[in-house]
Point group: C2
Chain length 384, copies 2
């Protein structure tokens, strides 16, 4: 092929090419271009000039192969399109970028098989560390392996049984408790909850409710977020001396707005109707909102509402939806910072960072002027 020899050369200038053009060894050229070791000012200038002319661009593959570091972080998110993950990813990206790291991103769709596949892909690409939102809090051999091989690892949102690594999450129990106590303080006594609750390892919803209502100790660390938020809901009732009616606990059973939407009619057809509703995440909130809109329920006249996580539409909605907002961006940033520390070799014991959610009051909660005190006959429910 004739013509454009310059361009062709330009597209593939290596350190050897630069060294030759500058009249130095590849070692010297490498030292100035790579910014390591010492070089005389004179040679440095020659090399820089030659590099400029040849349009030299370092090959990160070669560098990574030899240094064992790629300056790339891997992330396994549930679904990049979901606002929760989108924000978390932006937080990770901010920190990565500030430190000169690239970001290799995959979606697991909360499916273990895809997660395993993603992790394998990222490991082969030699990422320096991994941030994952584990799809299963019990089985995660791939993550244990990774850790065993010394791969820096940070978990977001969920923990994994027996996996001692850094983790950042929202303090789900406290956040849910705060929201539900807020409703109770506003005079609500019949408060529904719509939660994903897909995992069955807790012995089923009924058994879990029985234990939680009885105040039995529950190992909450390994609970999926929706169970933790349910626990906060129950704890708020206990603290306020209000009985928990299991029929008010609606399980969507899958992580989809449709499932949440389907759960709403089940709540509204009860004899002693609820006056308030608590949803445990953005997707559940979406489904609930669709259901309420369809049923032409007015908020907060017909029903008060507090949602977990602040999705953008919640502030445009009329009335604005009162929420407990997770610090999504900050969670991503914290996770990335912790990962970078591990990559640098800092050697703390595994840290769990539980970040507080922020309650944002808007207009979706009605102040009831019913007696604040819980009627005697209901109080008894607590003792069962």
């Amino acid at each position: 092929m004739r013509g454009k020899p310059d361009l062709a050369a330009k597209s593939k200038a290596t350190i050897a090419d630069v060294a030759r053009a500058a009249g130095v060894s590849t070692a010297t050229a490498g030292r100035v271009l790579g910014g390591y070791g010492y070089t005389s000012e004179e040679k440095k200038e020659q090399v820089l000039k030659a590099a400029q002319e040849l349009g030299y661009r370092p090959n990160a593959l070669a560098r990574g192969l030899i240094t064992g570091q790629t300056r790339t972080l891997g992330v396994v998110a549930g679904d990049i399109q979901n606002p929760f993950y989108a924000s978390v990813l932006r937080g990770i990206s901010n920190v990565a970028e500030a430190n000169g790291f690239g970001l290799l991103i995959t979606n697991s769709d909360e499916a273990q098989a895809k997660e395993v596949h993603s992790v394998e892909l990222l490991a082969q690409k030699q990422v320096d560390g991994l941030i994952v939102t584990p799809s299963d809090t019990r089985k995660a051999r791939h993550l244990h392996n990774l850790k065993g091989m010394g791969m820096p690892l940070v978990l977001i949102d969920r923990a994994v049984a027996g996996l001692m690594v850094d983790r950042v999450a929202t303090d789900n129990i406290a956040a849910a408790e705060q929201a539900v106590r807020y409703l109770i303080a506003a005079g609500h006594r019949r408060i529904g909850i719509v939660a994903e609750l897909v995992d069955e390892t807790n012995g089923g919803l009924d058994a879990f409710l029985a234990r939680a209502i009885a105040g039995d100790p529950i190992e909450s660390e390994l609970l999926y977020p929706s169970w933790q938020r349910l626990l906060g809901y129950i704890r708020a009732h206990r603290i306020e001396g209000l009985p928990v009616d299991p029929r008010l606990v609606q399980r969507a059973g899958s992580y989809s707005a449709l499932a949440a939407q389907a759960a709403v009619p089940r709540l509204l057809t009860m004899p002693d109707p609820l006056t308030a509703l608590f949803t445990t995440d953005g997707t559940m909130s979406e489904g609930v909102m669709r259901a309420l809109t369809e049923l032409k329920m007015s908020i907060p006249q017909d029903l008060s509402l507090i949602c977990f996580d602040d999705i953008d539409w919640m502030s445009f909605h009329r009335p604005g939806i009162t929420v407990v907002a997770q610090p999504r961006l900050a969670m991503g940033e914290a996770a990335a910072r912790m990962l970078l520390e591990r990559i640098r070799g800092e050697d703390y014991p595994p840290r769990t960072v539980l970040m507080p959610a922020e309650m944002i009051e808007r207009g979706s909660v009605a102040q009831l002027d019913q007696p604040k005190a819980v009627p005697e006959h209901r109080r008894s429910g607590l003792k069962r």
Copy 2:
């Protein structure tokens, strides 16, 4: 360090290790592990067994260095947190994953300097191809360079002057025209528009309006999306024989919800008030919605509204917002597919894929029972 010699070995088994354990050459081990060349069943089994036992994991860096391919796509998005980009990225991710490609993602925040930096990072990491949403449609030397060096490149949403590469975008002019004609058909005569319109290279808004209203030919290909959508707005007026009142065209001047919000009062304080409003993207819509909520304007009683791009809240809002929805996911998928074709070496002339937006009717447009015909004294405006 004593102990766990197996684990240590396991974490770094190379082809040479596997070859040794299997009693074959590295070439043979490489052939079966890499899936290239021919091997006898017998040796293949030995190698596979050894690899399994050693926990061999291929090093994509070494493979990439020698093959010149990394099976990684680079993406420069505006802001991964923005629903538009989040969806586009998911589309790209779907196609990448299905083809065994990884995804290196960066944010430009629509700033040229960050974009240049991102592109450089991705190029150093030797991505096989790049998808970018260019932040500047005029100057983009980095992209021209990239193309000159043979890097496969696909543009999303915006074009770049003189850069002949594949591109996928929404057919903005047609989509906006459709929306505005819909409003006109509903009887609206005073239709406002809130658009970003940040670029000044069109000689300023007034000059642009004058040319467009006069029907002068306009090279629309290089226009930023908000200008294209404004063009659709004007074209709809022309087609329907309605004059364009420049005061109804509100320029936010920056890509922020706040700027859009500030533009709304300027529209509502006119003597001959508007009855409908058209917003040109999700961020503008957000700002406009905040303003209308604050002003306690009822939709569609006080004002009809059509928004460009279907953001999730628009379907929860009461009433639902009528929108022209961009096929965001499909755009990402199309872009990724085109890029993969280029990476495979397919050699078409540069393709521009303009995807149609879909109009979704909800409840934000009031049917006016004013005369459908445009009054005579207004028609004259067209002839100026």
